[in-house]
């Protein structure tokens, strides 16, 4: 699978797209394949402050409940409301329509701990 190279990645398989002061985040294709049919996405409220590596929500598949981790410090700007009725959008298009939340970057937010596509790909290989 081809990883979009404009994104940064976490070891817990979230992706983040940083554009100026805003980060859009979701989960990677690898995470989607591990989870199977996604049936519920639970996010923080708009305005909540979130911190890198902390749990920021929950993703449920038919069989399992998984934590959603925050990739970067900031404040929740918006959440993808379409997922409330159609969580399967995450399965269908995890890097596009299946985005999960947008975060306004905090003052101390850093992408230093995030991986680029090449590093994440190597990380995925190391998991096999």
């Amino acid at each position: 699978m081809k990883l979009p190279d404009n994104l940064k990645y976490t070891k817990s398989h979230e992706w983040v797209l940083i554009e100026g002061e805003t980060a859009t985040m979701g989960i990677t294709q690898f995470a989607v394949e591990q989870l199977g049919d996604i049936t519920l996405v639970e996010c923080p409220q708009v305005g909540d402050s979130v911190k890198a590596n902390d749990t920021m929500g929950t993703i449920e598949s038919v069989k399992a409940v998984s934590d959603l981790y925050c990739p970067i410090d900031g404040t929740v700007l918006s959440v993808n409301e379409a997922l409330e009725d159609e969580p399967e959008k995450v399965n269908d298009d995890c890097y596009g329509d299946g985005w999960i939340a947008k975060i306004t970057l905090g003052d101390d937010a850093t992408d230093e701990d995030l991986m680029d596509a090449t590093a994440y790909e190597e990380y995925l290989d190391s998991l096999d």
Binding site: D37, L40, T58, E60, V62, K63, E84
Partner: protein, 374 residues
């Protein structure tokens, strides 16, 4: 970690892209692609399950039936040779050691099909409690494979290979060849659909599996993993040992009274179950559906709708139901505090929040077509 056991279909299943998990000491497929699609295939067409991990115990000898009838809750004298019967094997306290299907070959030959996850406790219990009669107990699990062919198209798929099992009525079994493989075939299953459970020696399992997959190709037959097996059985309100049944739950609490023959002369656990019935049940299994967006799961507390400190019970199983589109579950409920009446509002505590639900009638799904026998 202990090496996982493999069923004779392990390679064939992995070749079809199964995601494998450890279950009951076996490496088993949890899903091939999407659990929801596999679930729908079984409801609308057919699915083929490798359930070779299930245990096959045999009781043989002149007193086999008599011995079996002491070990299980249902009455084997209420059925005839060639019948299978659902039953629960209980402790002296009336709680469940396991639930099982009993195949009545004859007075001298009984097959018990039980849960792989319970194998050690089943064997220990049977060996400790088998009546001192003329009966031999043999575990043939490791040499026996089991396939389940389930769904509205199951009968026509098997018919392509042999017409011998079309007329087999529900909950009866017989023996015969399928694609040259000597098989034990019962009209039964764990999905709520019409279908067959087919047993054969390990050596024939692959040929049988491939023959069924080929025969079912045009009918939309899909291989199905344990993930959909669980959602299918839950929609049909079939109990899963470890969830609805356990060593601390009785079959009466699990609403399996129809499989508890309190009128038969004796069986292990009878006195305790009679006493429980007379005293009245304090908890019972109910079905519920969420009325708020949330998925109930095994172990979540059932609470008062407005007060999480008032515990009413515990969820035993829950999932998003692909057929109904609702989030459904089963739970043990305090009978005195809540009752079991459909429509009753309850709360399910999920990650610290109360989500609303209501008790509903079960099963959540009922097969909408008659079983074809000709």
């Amino acid at each position: 970690m202990e090496e996982l056991l493999k069923t004779p279909l392990n390679d064939a299943i992995k070749r079809r892209g199964a995601k494998m998990v450890a279950y009951a000491g076996y490496e088993m497929p949890v899903r091939f692609g999407s659990i929801v699609e596999e679930h729908q295939a079984v409801r609308l067409a057919a699915g083929l399950f490798d359930v070779s991990h299930m245990t096959e115990f045999w009781l043989e000898g002149p007193d086999a039936l008599k011995a079996a009838n002491y070990l299980v809750s249902n009455d084997l004298n209420a059925v005839v040779d060639g019948d299978m019967q659902y039953s629960v094997m209980c402790t002296a306290e009336g709680t469940a050691v396991d639930d099982l299907m009993v195949y009545r070959y004859g007075a001298d030959k009984i097959l018990l099909v039980m849960n792989a996850a319970c194998k050690a406790q089943d064997i220990a219990h049977i060996q400790a409690n088998l009546p001192k009669l003329d009966v031999r107990f043999t575990d043939r699990s490791l040499e026996t494979a089991q396939l389940a062919l389930q769904g509205p198209k199951a009968v026509s798929i098997l018919e392509k290979l042999t017409g011998a099992f079309v007329s087999l009525p529900t909950m009866k079994f017989t023996e015969g060849d399928i694609a040259g493989v000597p098989s034990l075939v019962s009209r039964s299953g764990y999905t709520g659909e019409d279908g067959y459970e087919i047993y054969c020696d390990n050596a024939g399992a692959l040929a049988l599996f491939e023959a069924l997959m080929s025969a079912g190709k045009a009918e939309g037959l899909s291989p199905v993993g344990l993930g959909a097996r669980d959602t299918l059985r839950l929609e049909s309100k079939m109990p899963l040992y470890g969830n609805e049944l356990s060593m601390s739950i009785t079959p009466l609490e699990a609403r399996l009274g129809w499989a508890v023959a309190l009128d038969k002369p004796d069986f292990l656990g009878k006195a305790a179950l009679l006493a429980q019935k007379e005293a009245g049940l304090t908890r019972r299994l109910v079905g519920f559906e969420m009325t708020e967006k949330a998925i109930p799961r095994h172990g979540y507390p059932v609470v008062a709708p407005d007060d999480a400190s008032v515990v009413w019970g515990e969820v035993t199983s829950g999932c998003p139901s692909p057929t109904t589109g609702k989030n459904i579950g089963l739970a043990y409920i305090d009978v005195a505090k809540v009752g079991t009446k459909p429509g009753t509002q309850i709360g399910i505590e999920i990650r610290g929040k109360i989500k609303s639900a209501k008790i509903v009638k079960t099963p959540f799904y009922k097969r909408p077509y008659p079983v074809r026998t000709k």
